[in-house]
């Protein structure tokens, strides 16, 4: 089976309130041909291998610095991206991809959905839920291959 050309990759901890926005988006996003939906707790170096063969990547994460309900940001390989914990930033992941494969990273965007509360055991907040729905509506209307 041919590998889907578009990757939608959401991450976050479903048990930490609005940190669940990334996984929730992936869980509820409308299925499309030629799109792989992927979810994980956080971005890791080996996720660079998930980018191989893609023509486009959409990263999805909760954000506390985004406008409501969400922002779509272009992201480029970033050698100076901070690496402060066990997880990577999307820009750093793209840079790792280029270094590991010797290929140019696929065009990528970050869907940053505004979140508000992140406590352990908290559910998705009502406000974040509305932001998620707006993001899902946006995704449903994004032209295929855009």
């Amino acid at each position: 089976m041919r590998k889907p050309r578009v990757l939608v990759f959401g991450w976050g901890n479903p048990s930490r309130g609005d940190d669940a926005l990334g996984p929730a988006f992936v869980g509820e996003a409308a299925r499309r041909d030629d799109v792989e939906l992927l979810v994980d707790y956080q971005l890791q170096p080996e996720h660079a291998l998930d980018l191989v063969g893609r023509v486009e990547v959409l990263f999805v994460d909760a954000a506390v610095d985004a406008a409501e309900p969400f922002e779509v940001r272009a992201v480029a390989p970033d050698a100076a991206a901070s690496l402060t914990t066990h997880h990577l930033s999307p820009g750093a992941l793209l840079h790792v991809f280029e270094q590991l494969t010797g290929e140019k990273a696929p065009p990528a965007k970050v869907l940053a959905i505004r979140g508000w509360q992140f406590g352990l055991g908290e559910a998705l907040s009502e406000r974040a839920r509305k932001n998620l729905e707006a993001a899902l509506s946006w995704w449903a209307h994004v032209p295929r291959g855009a």
Binding site: L21, P45, E46, H86, A112
Partner: protein, 477 residues
């Protein structure tokens, strides 16, 4: 004790989560005490209480984004007792397969992506390049090896769990599914290469250790007891076995203690400045009873490794460190020996058709209490649950690996800070060395909220009278 000044250091980059270190100085300006503040563990146990017990092995995976499998397996082991089951042989093999996959991926992450930049570039090199990005640019082959080792471990887990995260691999009394034949065959074809990489990883860790042996030997080294699981025959066993303890010189303190005995063995001291408890061996008391867990303890606790290449590597390690070493930087070499063992163990298990068929779950008479112990990548992990007749968890006690190493980390930081604190200023050099010491233990400081822009950090300076002099926060990573 009345005139202690405090210097707070943060952040600790490339340690999971958020970290803050407070150094208490005495009147002479020497470091009297080091305090590594870890705030994220509060609430974990309350998070579990009130949930149906059968949900717990899945839910606890969300405590940590790096080692969810360890929590899954330890919870399942504890709850095996609650459902009165003894997991069937196939279930045990599948659990061990998960555990070795987990050990491989977690150890690869730590050594290649977090620690090796310190060792390859030097502690005092530019911190903005002393990281994975610098590694892939200057040592791409090493970075690739780490990525592929970690990927293999992750793919084994995905095959057993059915998906990358939120899977139901281990359940009370057994496991949820077999390994598919095509997945098994695919892994078997690739595992020889994984073993080759693992051997190279051991050689690299050894070389980097020996090149800097004079510096590494004393760096943050503080003698302590050692604690970990070993099999009945004394071999390393990361999944099961009895608890063994050695004193700082390697003399046997106890051996073969069952998981349920942890309550008579370990006490947990509460200190007002930390949310994390300080476990100690009760018979020795809090002053002398603290201990180390994790790769450095395990490789020195066991009589042998149960796989041949790892055993040869262990012998070389022991020959390099006659007696017992307490050097935190020796963790890295020991960690790679365990990674090699995990690769060998994966190969052994993948050749066993018990992964493909056989009973998966066993249950018996219900019990109200269950205790499980496992060796997680960072050390001994204990889960303890009490369950009511309504199936809801009424009590939960978790002693995670980082908690078991709590005092050891503080002592290592104190040792390093005493040596590298020059005057009354937090210099780059001091920051670098404290960071390297903490990272050797690979503490899981947080179980990870990773929303963009949300990486709150706080610096607090408090004077000798307890007054806050300054508070600084950092809003994003």
């Amino acid at each position: 004790m009345t005139d202690l000044r405090r210097i707070a250091i943060e952040p600790l980059s490339r340690v999971e989560g958020h970290g803050k270190v407070t150094l208490l100085l005495d009147e002479a300006g020497a470091v009297h005490e080091a305090r590594l503040h870890i705030v994220e563990f509060r609430g974990f146990e309350a998070f579990i209480v009130g949930r149906p017990f059968w949900e717990v092995p899945v839910v606890v995976q969300r405590l940590c984004g790096i080692c969810p499998v360890s929590h899954n397996l330890c919870a399942a082991k504890a709850l095996d007792r609650v459902v009165g089951g003894v997991p069937p042989p196939s279930a045990v093999k599948l659990r061990r397969l998960m555990h070795s996959g987990q050990m491989l991926q977690s150890h690869a992450l730590h050594f290649f992506h977090l620690a090796s930049p310190d060792l390859l570039f030097g502690f005092d090199s530019d911190v903005s390049r002393r990281n994975l990005i610098g590694l892939v640019e200057q040592h791409p082959d090493i970075a690739k090896m780490g990525v592929h080792l970690r990927k293999f471990g992750q793919q084994v887990l995905e095959a057993v769990y059915g998906k990358r995260i939120h899977g139901t691999g281990a359940v009370p009394g057994g496991v949820n599914k077999h390994l598919a034949l095509d997945a098994r065959d695919g892994f078997l074809a690739r595992v020889p290469q994984v073993k080759t990489w693992a051997l190279e990883a051991v050689a690299l860790a050894r070389r980097l250790t020996e090149v800097n042996q004079a510096r590494h030997q004393d760096f943050g080294a503080v003698p302590s007891n050692l604690l970990g699981l070993v099999a009945a025959d004394g071999a390393l066993d990361l999944y099961d076995g009895g608890l063994r303890g050695l004193d700082a010189e390697g003399r046997l303190l106890f051996d073969g203690l069952e998981a349920v005995d942890y309550r008579s063995l370990i006490r947990e001291e509460v200190r007002p400045w930390s949310y994390m408890k300080f476990p100690y061996l009760e018979r020795l008391g809090p002053e002398a009873g603290w201990y180390k867990v994790g790769p450095l303890a395990r490789v020195q606790l066991c009589d042998r490794m149960p796989t041949p290449l790892a055993e040869a590597a262990r012998r070389e390690f022991r020959a390099a460190y006659p007696g017992v070493t307490h050097a935190p930087l020796a963790f890295h070499w020991a960690r790679m020996i365990e990674l090699l063992h995990a690769a060998e163990d994966l190969e052994r298990l993948l050749q066993d058709d018990g992964l493909l068929h056989g009973d998966l779950v066993s249950t018996g008479a219900r019990r109200r209490e269950g205790i499980g112990v496992i060796e997680a990548p960072r050390g001994t992990l204990i889960h303890h649950y009490e369950v009511g007749d309504d199936d809801l968890v009424t009590r939960c006690n978790l002693i995670v690996s980082t908690t078991n190493n709590n005092q050891a980390m503080n002592e290592a930081i104190r040792s390093v800070a005493r040596r590298y604190l020059d005057g009354h200023e937090v210099t780059e050099g001091l920051l670098n060395h404290v960071e390297v010491a903490v990272r050797a233990f690979d503490p899981c400081l947080s179980c990870a909220t990773h929303a963009m822009g949300r990486m709150p950090l706080q610096v607090t300076l408090v004077d000798a009278r307890g007054a806050v002099v300054s508070v600084g926060t950092r809003g994003s990573a």
